[in-house]
Symmetry: C2
Subunit: 151 residues, 2 copies
Amino acid sequence: MSTTSPLFGPRGTEAEIEEGTVFAPKFDADGLIPVVATDANTGDVLMFAWMNAEALEKTIRTGDVWYWSRSRKALWRKGETSGQTQSVRDIRIDCDQDALVIKVEVGGDGGACHVGYRSCFFRSVPVGPADGPLTLRIEDAKLPGNGHKHP
Amino acid sequence: MSTTSPLFGPRGTEAEIEEGTVFAPKFDADGLIPVVATDANTGDVLMFAWMNAEALEKTIRTGDVWYWSRSRKALWRKGETSGQTQSVRDIRIDCDQDALVIKVEVGGDGGACHVGYRSCFFRSVPVGPADGPLTLRIEDAKLPGNGHKHP
């Protein structure tokens, strides 16, 4: 999978990568970079997904968020069929330039999770001493008209 | 690398994993799960890192955040030498149970990034039509007394 694009500069020295201003994203052995989508209005983390170079370039050029589906091995514009589109408000890259955070405006019913919640992170893990398998707590309510959504 | 722990239940059906209450985290081929740390007070994303099963179990049991360093191939308690500790306020897991978001209280000078910023995501990527390599914008100020921090 190509990891190049006319939008990406060369990976320079460690200092250039970590503190410089040349955009030089690093893709993993599968040609992917991890992406955290947050809600531009609430700041909440909505979902965690992956982009390949093509998805990242399309996202930057169009302002619509595109991901790479590892299960379907296909590029997808988020919300293409579900209506739960994501419009870019801000893209941030981390010090190592190997992870992205994207602030988005969500379209449709405002959800991001295919099982019917606003955020994929609707369950909490109990913290503290424990003996056996932990029981998750469901912290959020489903969106009205929830149901299994497509991409 | 072991991906089991007495705290983890079995991965059940897709519906059980995605909507159930059995904690059944999935680790990748390297035995790791991606972790997004957010600031419990501001909601800002601070850093993106990885945990193995042992780091996750220690984090849950102790309430201090432990990560797995892929570069150093070692477990580390965040802030061990830098003082930039992370105390767990909330752990969330996503629908697929293959990514975590942890809300943390940051110790020390309040930073999380080893190059001297509060957040690793201190640079933005310009969005829109473009021809050549993009130039990042530095959006945040360094913390007072910034400098290359250790784990």
